[in-house]
Symmetry: C2
Subunit: 140 residues, 2 copies
């Protein structure tokens, strides 16, 4: 199998409300989006929003899902940007889980939850520089 | 905020066991990986494996995480590849959640769980062709 992920999909309580939150970050949904499912182009892979009950039907995992087993991260180009974007997401309706802190390994990281509780990090990670096009420079 | 995700990190029970599963798919971990955390380069974004207890400490979400609120997807170039790769992941130790089925919207999708129960789809989605470099062609 090629080394890639095509989609990351969050199960959400209310697709429209969740879409509105991510659009408040300045993101633009694909015209292929529908009422039941929303697609954001993340540079050739898709970030999807999909009703949790539909998602449970698809996967067959009927246990109640509890956000917190997966984190998504937005890495920044500087330490200052972490503070800045924690403010941006809070303004958009996110809940701060942890204000930015210095990590033992040299980074600076804050955590927030989206409207469904899905955790995200906003991270400055000097070891993985963010390139011009937004992708990460990752050692082979 | 730029429209991108830098990392997707799964909380796992045993980092080494989980790493071994994904390596059996033919994926190669970055040399920046450590005992506690593993990084796979997914074309400028990172797929991470991290101990669930460490992840809970980081996010502050102390409720027991239940996989199933997020799905990851690997899209294929053909319908036949779905059947093929469902076999590949099973061989590698995955559990089939749902054998591939024709979806009402025209795709062909199978679901499997990784060793921690994190659900993945293997999907043939004619609406979003997989390009030469593995990225998706997504309508603006």
């Amino acid at each position: 199998m090629e080394q890639r992920i095509s989609l990351v999909t969050l199960g959400v309580a209310d697709v429209a409300a969740s879409r509105a939150f991510y659009e408040r970050l300045g993101w633009k949904a694909s015209s292929a989006s529908m009422d039941e499912v929303v697609f954001f182009d993340m540079g050739g892979m898709i970030f999807g929003l999909y009703g949790q009950s539909d998602l449970s039907k698809d996967t067959g995992l009927t246990n109640t899902p509890t956000p917190g087993c997966t984190t998504l991260a937005y890495n920044t180009r500087s330490r200052e940007e972490v503070d800045h974007f924690m403010g941006v997401v809070e303004e958009a309706g996110a809940t701060t889980l942890k204000p930015p802190v210095d990590m033992s390994w040299g980074g600076y990281v804050g955590y927030f939850a989206d409207p469904d509780g899905h955790p995200w990090e906003i991270s400055w990670v000097p070891h993985f520089p963010v390139l011009e096009d937004g992708s990460l420079d990752i050692p082979a």
